[in-house]
Amino acid sequence: MLLVCFVVKPLSLQPDVLTRAEALGLKARSIVEGLRIGDHKSPYKGFSVEFVQHREYVAGDDIRHIDWKSYGRSERYTIKQYEQETNFIAHILVDASKSMEYGEGDSNKLQVAKLLAASLAYLVIHQRDTAALGVFDDGWRTRLPASSQPGHVNTILRTLEEVEPREKGSIGPLLSELAQQVRRRGLVFLISDCFDDVAELVKGLSHLRFGGHDVTVFHTLHPDETGFPFEGMTRFVGLEDTGKLLTRPNLIRPAYLRALQAYLDEFREGCRANRIDHVAVDTGKPLGPTLAGWLAWRLQTA
């Protein structure tokens, strides 16, 4: 039983959205099925298993769930019922603020975030767990309730495909709010560039950790943001109304890289202190290897 009441936005079933959603689904599926070759064992199986009641066995039920002890006592086939049909809830949180708009084509940060969210949703639901989606900028823009139904993947895909970058992002308070709302322990995947106040951000993430959630941050950055390869006189216009700047990038490149590295170090240290997984996602590289590397690491450390 879900303790959180999600506000579900009506799905718009426009043909182009559906087409794009299918394309997104295909991409996500190809990535995830590539990861599932050899059939790995989910590290999350067995989480949050809470017995509720017995019911009588009917044809079609999985005989694995027959309670043989009860059969020994009553000679009736009964099935053990659990509070949830799945083992855990995965909360996939996608940052859709204006800063995620950066990048052209496949390296666009929001597009990569969508593909990553779709892949995670596909991965989670495919192993019969529950996935919930939350899209945010300065507030919750869209939230889909948790579900393990296969059709839920399509809902997530369509929702993701409709997402457009908007407004300035503010992640920390939203994460704190989510930590208060979601009482049941689960997985939280935050997909964002995390261009926010580090202290606020880490505070929100730590709230989730205090709630017993397993938190993973997919830190999505464009190669331009990590390498700053610009030349010549350039006018930078902030995507989140953060001002304009006319400068020679080659002159300030060292200082920029130092500032970025200081931010990354601080953020990673915050994650490490709170036992939050930090996964760097380079939007200039294929997503598959990044996801595979992260899953392999999870398998080793689970």
């Binding site: 204006k98 800063s99 995620m100 708009e101 950066y102 940060k109 560039d193 261009f195 464009h222 943001e225 610009f230 010549g232 006189m233 350039t234 006018r235 930078f236 216009v237 902030g238 995507l239 989140e240 953060t242 001002g243 700047l245 006319l246 400068t247 020679r248 002159l251 300030i252 200082a255 920029y256 130092r258 500032a259 970025l260 931010y263």
Partner: protein, 436 residues
Amino acid sequence: MFLAPYMLIGGLAASIPVILHLFYRSRYKTVPWAAMKFLLTSVEQTSRRLKFQELLLLILRTCLLLLLAIALARPTFQAAIGGGDAVDAVIVLDTSLSMQARSGPNSTCFDTARDAARTVLRQLPANSTVQIVTVSDTARVAGPLDPGRLDLATALLDDLVPSDRGSDLHAGIVTAERILAQAPSSNKELYILSDMQRGAWETRGSEIKATLDELRKKATVSLVRCTPLGRGNVAIVGITPQTTLRSGERADFAVLVRNAGTQPVKGLTVTLTLDGRDDRAESQALAEVSPGETRAVVVGTRIETPGRHVVRAVVRPDDVEGDNRLERVVVVNDRVGVLVVDGAADVRDPRKSASFFLSHALNPEASGLPLSIVPVERAAPRDLGGKELCVLVNVPLAAVGDRPGLSPEFLRALEPFVKEGKGLWVIAGARVDPKL
């Protein structure tokens, strides 16, 4: 103070870096950027340093161009010290033939003019410029390349020599006028160093006067005359052989000496040399040559070999060396070839031949005289080739009976032989018919 102040116009180029700076500031690309936070942080940290660097670079580039323009304008501090009396001077130096005239025991007019030029150079104020123009029948700017290098100008004077040409002072003055027109200084001076020969002034006197009058309005003009020691000037005007020139013989030449000066010249010696061999030179004294007079002196020399020879006649002493020498190429023939036609040749006993004693007299002990003896019946026109003298000894002009005579062809060939100036000697004998 600048020696080339017009080059300061190049200082306008100093504005190029500023213009480029503004131009490139107005040309930029716009990039929408997410990580503005780090960008602003980095700019905060570096903006002051970057602005300082940019300003410094801009100033350096501007100063570099300014300094270049100033350097090209050739600034000088000495001008300020010297009171700014630098002069742009032009020295016109006459290098015509007449400048070779002696102006002293061991010097010529040209030496005097050169010394005067050196004096002018020494006395020019600091930072002055100078150009030396040499003038004979044409004018030429001799240098120096850098007008400010008076030391180079002095060294240049040492290399100049007078020519053997005439004098056209007007050409030199016009060249000097052109140079002075381009000179930036307000102090301009023109020095004309010449012997002021009448011919040079008479030819284009009015033009020279007009040009100098015009120049005097803009510059100080100084005429420096280098006076020759005397006014007599002899020249060799001809070499004429007095005899037919033959190898192995002595030949006399008449050397014509003319006095083109206005005073008599005394105590002259005319020397004749053949093919530059001074060891065989022969001389004749010439007591005096009056002004305008031409005197002939006969000087002989021995010519050993046939062919072309260079005969040189030199007269000394004279004030003007250039016209004291004359050379002439002469053609010298070989020795006299003699053809003896014998009208009574005796093959069995040559002593009975008519030409026996004659041939021995002409060519005793076979001295090498090119002598040919042919019997009359074999005498042909080709035998006359290369001969200077034909001797007919007891030769009948026509055949009489069985006695042979000269062939008609030979007789016909004798006519042009004689007309060429060659000799025909007829010795009568018993076989000669006096009627013919």
